[in-house]
Structure formats: structure tokens, C-alpha cells
């Protein structure tokens, strides 16, 4: 399997607070990986480092051999955990922007998903409901044929039906040779889709195993193991 993401002794501090401590991680292609951990464990910091939105204080991070930069951004499809699109643009205009910048973006796929979800592609984003704006964000991310998908809390704050749709959208649309890193708190809903999980605690990786290994070795579901590891 190809090495998509590699972190070597990756360290990031916010002042005196260590957000990530010497993280070593290798992510190969063709996997759906759950990046799990409580608030403040370093999930979003790791995701921002992958996307070049933060610079590490120590160690190295590479995506397909490239440090975060113009080349790596062509390979990574990123879904942030906030409302990041320009609210005065329409869904279609935003899709056209994605098509302009990302050669791997399929505007037909985006239009198809807009139609399936009943999203008015000519409506300005600010007129859409919060849930629909989140769906637009997901559609735009999943309409790319990227090498690595990084989804930060894609199922937080949505109703269970939408959650199911989001999970099925991810599973149906991601490039099968690519890997998907999904950061979430809601493990039970997504567990069945995961190949591997990474547990982050206090900026350190405390577990990186396949879901099958967890079930066989620990005789527990990922959700049960998570509750055990992160028990207060």
C-alpha cells in the first residue's frame, strides 16, 4: 500500500500548552480511519497541520512525500468543522470555484448530489439552513477525487437521518484508492464504516489499530474501547 500521510515526531505547541507531542503516524491508501479523542486531544491541530493551516514546532509531516503546500493541497480534500464558505455565493458558484481550482473536482457529481438532497443550487448559501449548508460543504469535499480526505467532525450537530446520509455519501463517493480520515466524537454511528482507528489523548497517539484487531484482541467495539480508554 502507498504511504499517503507520514508524521514523524510531529510536535505542536500553543504557548506553553503542547497540542501534539512527538506524534509518529503513517496512513496508507484505501482506508477509512477514525481519528478519535475527547475535546482538546489534538485532533483539529493534527488536521490543520495536514492542511498546512498550522506549521509544526517540531518533527515533520508529509503528504505523498510533499510537505504541506501547493502540491499537497491538490491531493487533500478537507472538510473543516465550521461554516467556511462565502455566504454571499450560491452553492453552484461555490462548486464552480472548486472546479476552477481542483482539477479532480467533478461538478456533475456535485450537481447530482445537490439534486438528490433537494438543495437549491442557485440559492445563496446564507439563505440555506445550517444543516443544508453543512451538506453543501460535504458535497463539495466529496465531489473531489482526492488522494486523502480529511473530514473534521462531519457528523456533529446534525440529526440522525442526515448523519446516515452523510456517512453513506462519504462511503459512496470517496476515491477507493484514497484514504479518509474522519475526526468525530460520535463513534457508534460511524464505527461500521471504519477500517482503522486512532485514539488521541493529550496530544499523543495512545492507540492505532484496525477495527478488526480491536474486536478480536480486546473483544470490544470501538465505542466500548473508547469509553474505557477515555474514562474520567
Amino acid at each position: 500500500m502507498s504511504e499517503l500521510l507520514k508524521c514523524t515526531s510531529l510536535t505542536k505547541n500553543y504557548g506553553h500548552i503542547a497540542a501534539l507531542k512527538n506524534v509518529d503516524l503513517v496512513v496508507e491508501g484505501g482506508k477509512i480511519i477514525g481519528l478519535l479523542g475527547p475535546n482538546g486531544s489534538g485532533k483539529t491541530t493534527l488536521i490543520k497541520l495536514i492542511n498546512g493551516l498550522l506549521v509544526p514546532d517540531g518533527g515533520e509531516i508529509t503528504i505523498l512525500g510533499n510537505k504541506p503546500g501547493v502540491e499537497s493541497k491538490q491531493s487533500v480534500a478537507y472538510l473543516p468543522d465550521n461554516d467556511y464558505l462565502n455566504p454571499s455565493m450560491t452553492a453552484l458558484a461555490t462548486a464552480e470555484l472548486f472546479a476552477d481550482f481542483y482539477p479532480d473536482f467533478s461538478i456533475e457529481a456535485a450537481k447530482k448530489m445537490f439534486g438528490e438532497l433537494g438543495i437549491d443550487q442557485n440559492a445563496k448559501l446564507k439563505t440555506l439552513s445550517k444543516g443544508n449548508r453543512e451538506k453543501v460543504c460535504l458535497i463539495l469535499t466529496m465531489s473531489r477525487k482526492a488522494k486523502l480526505y480529511v473530514l473534521d467532525e462531519p457528523i456533529a450537530g446534525v440529526d440522525p437521518a442526515t448523519r446516515d446520509y452523510i456517512i453513506s455519501t462519504i462511503l459512496q463517493n470517496y476515491n477507493k484508492e484514497a484514504s479518509v480520515i474522519i475526526s468525530t466524537h460520535i463513534i457508534s454511528d460511524i464505527e461500521s464504516a471504519l477500517d482503522e482507528v486512532i485514539f488521541l489523548k493529550g496530544g499523543e497517539i495512545v492507540l492505532h489499530k484496525s477495527v478488526d484487531e480491536i474486536r478480536n484482541e480486546n473483544n470490544k467495539s470501538v465505542d466500548e474501547l473508547f469509553r474505557e480508554v477515555f474514562k474520567w
Partner: protein, 269 residues
Amino acid sequence: MVKKLLKYDFSALSKPLIPMYIVMLSIALFNRIVQFFESDGVAYNIFFISSTILFVISIAVSFVYTLAVCVVRFYKNLYSHQGYLTLTLPASHSEHILSKLISSVCAMAVTLLAVIISVSVCTAGDVFGEIIKAALYIFKQYFRLTKVHGAFYILEFILVLLATTVAELLTIFTSVTVGQLAKKNRILLAFGVYFGIYVAWQIIETVLLIIGAVFVNTDIAEKLLDYIAENTYQCIHIALIGFLLIQLAVSFAGFFITRKIMRTKLNLE
């Protein structure tokens, strides 16, 4: 990639600026229509003076508003939530800054053009003809006095104007970029940084003036004044090019500081 970024920057800037141009031209047109009813009556004077004041205010506001729109676009597109998209597009930090800079300079130039058109509308007819005549006369006299130097002065002046606009924009971009390092009150910090830079310039200018004052009535000053009197044309070139170089140095410093902070200290909302 800059071309693609520019496409979206121009589109975003045009939305708030086009209505402003329409308002400014409408005020100019109203002023011109009022002039058709010229009389000694009080009503005419009230209308004419009011619309003229309004037009002058609209010209002043147009430049401030254009600058504000450009700065808001820079901040929102790069450092607010929208930065999560903008800064993950496959473009370098230099390309992002360049795109914002070029689009802002173009916006200022279009505003200047809109002001010129508005003034032309206001003065259309006999007054406009007189202005053109006066301008031609001034230019004729100017070139008679300055000869070939005159053309170069105009070129140097345009370059200075452009470089000053670029330097001013990049100083503001740098201030905004430093401001985003704060957890709270980012806009306040940006204003503080800009004010700090302004004060630093004032101090430098004052120190230079004091140094200049020390040399007044000395042999050096006399020799310098004699040289300027003998080589006036060349000295004007030196002054303009010197000012141009200072603005370019400020621009380069602003560009590289902004890029460095974006690369290493990005702190999105």
C-alpha cells in the same frame, strides 16, 4: 493561479463597489441637471450648493469606502472562517497576497476613473470645455518649461502614485495580518499596529527634519542648495526616484512580513 484567484477577488469586490459608483454618478448627474435651471433664486442656490457638497462628499467617501472594501475582503477571505477554504486552495501564500494586492490596486484605479467620469458629468458642457482648454494650456506651459524632463516627471509621478498605493495597501495588509495573531480584539490590534507604523514614520521624519535643521547655515547646506539650483531638473528626478525607492522598500517589507506570518503563524478564527 493568480489569474484564477483574481477572478474571484474582482467578483467579490465588484458587488459592493458597483452600487457605490452608480450612486456617485447619480449625484453627479443630479448636480448637472440642477445646473440647467440656473437662476438667481434662493431655491436654485440651495439645490446647487447642496448637490455640490453632496458630490464632493461622495468623492471623498468613494476612496475611503473602496479601501475599506479591499481591506475587509483581505481579512474575511484569508483570516476569517473563509480562510479554511482560501488557504487550502492549491495556491501559494505569495499568490494569495498578490491577488489581493492587484485586485485592490485595480479597485482604487477604477474608483479614480469613476471620480473623473463623475466630475466630467458634473461639468459637462461649457465648463468642461474650459477645463480642457485650461489643462491643455497648463500642459503646454509645463512642457515648455521642463522640455524632455517633463515627460519623465509625469512617468515618475505615476510610478510614485502607484508605488505609494501599493505600499499603503501592503502596510494595511501587514497590520491586519499581525492583528490576526491575537486571540481576541483582532481588528483593534490591527488598528494599533497600523497606528504604530504611522507613528514610527512620523518619528523618522521628525528626526530627519532635526538633522536637516542642524545643517542649515552650514557650508554643506549652502553647497547642496547651490547644486540644486544648478541641477534643478536632475534633482527633481532624484527626489521622485528616491521617494519611489522608499515606497518600493516599504512594499517589499510589507509583502515579506505578511507572507512570513501567513506561513508560520496562521491563526484562523
